[in-house]
Subunit: 447 residues, 2 copies
Amino acid sequence: MATMGRPWSMVMKDIRVGLIGFGTVGSGVVKILEKNGSLIEKRLGAPLILKRVADLDLETDRGVHVDSSRFTRHARDVIEDPEISIVIELIGGFEPARSFVLDALRHRKHVVTANKALLAVHGDEIFRVAHQCGVDINFEASVGGGIPIIRSLREGLAANRMLSLFGILNGTSNYILSRMTEQGEEFEHVLRQAQREGFAEADPSMDIEGFDPAHKLAILISLAWGGRVRFEDIPREGISTVSPLDIQFASELGYKIKPLVMARAEESQIEARVHPALIPLDHPLASVDGVYNAVVAVGDAVGSTIYYGQGAGQMPTASAVVSDVIELARKVHHKTRGRLSPYSHQRRYVRKIRIKNIQHVDSCWYLRLSIDDRSHLVGRITGILEKHGIGMTTMIRGGQEGSRVVPLMIMTGTARGRSVGRALEEIDQLSGVLEKTIGIRVEDQFS
Amino acid sequence: MATMGRPWSMVMKDIRVGLIGFGTVGSGVVKILEKNGSLIEKRLGAPLILKRVADLDLETDRGVHVDSSRFTRHARDVIEDPEISIVIELIGGFEPARSFVLDALRHRKHVVTANKALLAVHGDEIFRVAHQCGVDINFEASVGGGIPIIRSLREGLAANRMLSLFGILNGTSNYILSRMTEQGEEFEHVLRQAQREGFAEADPSMDIEGFDPAHKLAILISLAWGGRVRFEDIPREGISTVSPLDIQFASELGYKIKPLVMARAEESQIEARVHPALIPLDHPLASVDGVYNAVVAVGDAVGSTIYYGQGAGQMPTASAVVSDVIELARKVHHKTRGRLSPYSHQRRYVRKIRIKNIQHVDSCWYLRLSIDDRSHLVGRITGILEKHGIGMTTMIRGGQEGSRVVPLMIMTGTARGRSVGRALEEIDQLSGVLEKTIGIRVEDQFS
C-alpha cells in the first residue's frame, strides 16, 4: 500500500509495437494508428509507435503509408527487437503463425492476435507459454470482429455464472443464407456470387462447413466456463444442405434459417453445437443479416444480454486489434501481467471442459423428405418416427399438383439426436424416398 | 522489466469489501457474493469477503443472510475499516452519498457506485479526489444496469474516434410508453398502473421528466469524448406529453415512440438530447421494450455496435456492481491504479465538452395540432410553417367525421429547433387552435 498515495499521471514513455502480417486487417491497424494516434495517446497517456512491419509482400500498395525503413521480410526482426513490447500477429492459419506467436511470447513480448483457428486448436500451448514467460495474449478480434464480446464475457459479466451463449459468428455463412432468403436462389449459385463479390474465400470450406464458427465457439466456451476445450469435440454441421425450399417452409412457419453457434451449461458438461438452425422470426438473432454478427450471453444474475456489430472486415477487426494493443500498453506501463487469465479462470483452476455428445442432445427438428407421390409413404414415415419416440407438430406436402417427386416437410416435437438419426436412416431406406432426408434443428429456447 | 519473468499465479490474499446501502441492489450484491463466491475466487484468484454492511435499517428481511456482527448503522465503520480496500456505495441520491464516496476515496479505498445522479452532477469533484488519493472509482452499474456499456466504450472501442451514441436508458419511461403502445391507454393511467406494479417510483419525476436518462447520457458523453459535461447543458424533455393518438399516428407511418437519448460529435461540440422520439419500426432500438435498455455506439473504425440487456432491477444491477468489484480487486492485487481514467482520457487531456444549443439542432418533426374543424386553418398553418422554412412530408386529419375538435398531424422535413419553436408559437396563437401543439422529434439517422 506504500505506493498508493501518489497521483498517477506521470509521463509515459512511447510504447513500441511490431506487426507481423500486412494484409487487409494489418493495413487497417496501420490506418487506425495513423488517424487516431493522437486520440489514443490521450486515452493511454503515451504514444503508440508502430516500429516494425513484417510481411513477405513489401510491394503491394495498401493505401497507407509505412516508411520503408520499418518494413522487413523477416518476422524475427519484429520478434527480436528489444524496443518492441507488443507484437501483433495477423498472418492467420496454423504455421508459421504458431511459431511466431510462441517465439514472441518467449521473447517476453505481449501478443495480440485475431487468429481464431490457432487459438481454438493450439490455445492451450500458447496460453501456457504466455503464463510461463510472464506476458499476456489478447485476442478480442478472434471472435465477432469489432464486437467487444471477449471483454464483456471476461470482465463485464465476471460476477455471473454463465448459463448459455448463442451467436451468429460466421459472416460468410450468414451472408449466403441471407442472400438465399432474399433471392430464393440455390446455395451453389449464391456461393459463387459471394466468391465473385469477395464475401467468400476461393476455398470456402472453413466458413461453410462450420470450422470458423466452431473455432470461435471453442474460444467463447473457454472464457465463459473457464477451461480447455478440445476443438474436435464440438459438433459441427455446415450450411450447404440448406435449400431455398427449406428457407421458404421455415418462413411460412415463422422462422428464419441462420448459421447458429450455441453452448449451454449442464450439470457436469457443456452442450455445444454449430449448425444451421430455424430461429423464430421475432428473436433478435433472426434480424442479424449479412456481415453482421451477434452474441446472446445469458448469466445467472444479469439475465440475457446481446452484443451486435460487424463480425469481419478490415476496420471493425482492426478496431478490436488496436483496442487490445491499448490494453496491453497499459500493462506495459503499469508493469502488470496476468491481471486476467486467457481462460477467465486463474490457471490453477483451469480444467478440461466436457462437451456433450450430440447424439444425446434434445431438439425440435425440421425434416424435409423427397418422396415419390405415388408411393403413399406418409403412414409408414410417421410410423417410423413414432416408433423412435418422435412426435410431430406440423406436416406440409409441397410441390406442384400432379408432380411425381414431392417434398414433404415435417416439424417434430422435442427428440433426441440419436433417435432422429436412427429414424432418418430407416426412412431413407424406404423405396419411395428418393433423396437423403434433410434435418435442421429448431432453436427457440434462448436461455 | 525485471519482474516480468516470473509466472503470476502466486496465492492472493482475501480482498475485503464494505457495502454502504443494503436496499434492493445491495441485497442483490450479497446474493451474488454468496452464490457465486467460489466461482469468483477462481476468476480472481482470491476470495472476496464482504466484511461490513452499513444501513440505517438493520431489521427488514432482505432474503439473504448477513451475520449480524457485520452490520452497522454507521457508514464510517465501513469507510474507516483499515482491512477494507473496496467500498460499494448503493444508497443513491446526492447526500450523504457524496460525502460517503469522497470520504472513502480519502481513506484510500477504491469505490464502486451505481449512482448516476451523483456522478453526472458531482463527477468532476469525485474523479479529482480519486485521482489525488491514488484510488479508482468504477461505475458500470450507473448506466444500462447489467449491460457492460461503460467497459465497452472505455476499453472495447478504445481504438475508435466515437461518432455517435443512441440509447434507451430509462426503464420506467420505456415501460410506460411500451404499455401505452400495447394498451392504447393515456399516460396518466399507465403511470398509475406502473406505480402500483413497482415499475415507477411514488415520485416519478426523475424518470418521466428525463433527469435519469440525462444523467446517464452525461456519463456516456464524458467517456466517449473524454471530457467534463455540465449536466444542465443537456437538453431534456419528458414523456408526459405523448398521447395514445401520437403512438397510433406514428405506427401508421412506420414508427414507434421511444424515450431516446442521443449524442453525436460535431466539429467542436457534441449534439446531445434526451426526449421521446419517433424511431423507424425496423430499427433494433424500436424493439427494445419494457425494462430492457440498449445502446448503439458508433465508432469510426468499428462502425455501428449495439449492447442490449436489462437496464435495471436487483440482479442485473448487482451483476454490474460485483463485476466492478472484481476488477478493482485485481487492481488491489496488482497494486496498480489509474490504469483507466474515469473520463477515458488521461486527466491532463480532460477538457470541458461543449453541448450544442438545442435551438440550433436540425430534426424532422412530428407535430400534432388540435384544431376547430370549422375554422379552415390548414392553409394558414402550412403558411406559417413555410414562412419559417419548414417543409411538410405528410399531413393527416384525425377524429370522427363531423366532430368539431379534430387532431391534425404533420410530419415535417428537416427543420431547425428554433424555427419549429417560433412557428409553433405563432400557430398556437391562431384562434382555431384549441390546445398547445405537441412536437416530437423523428430520429432516423443512426450514424
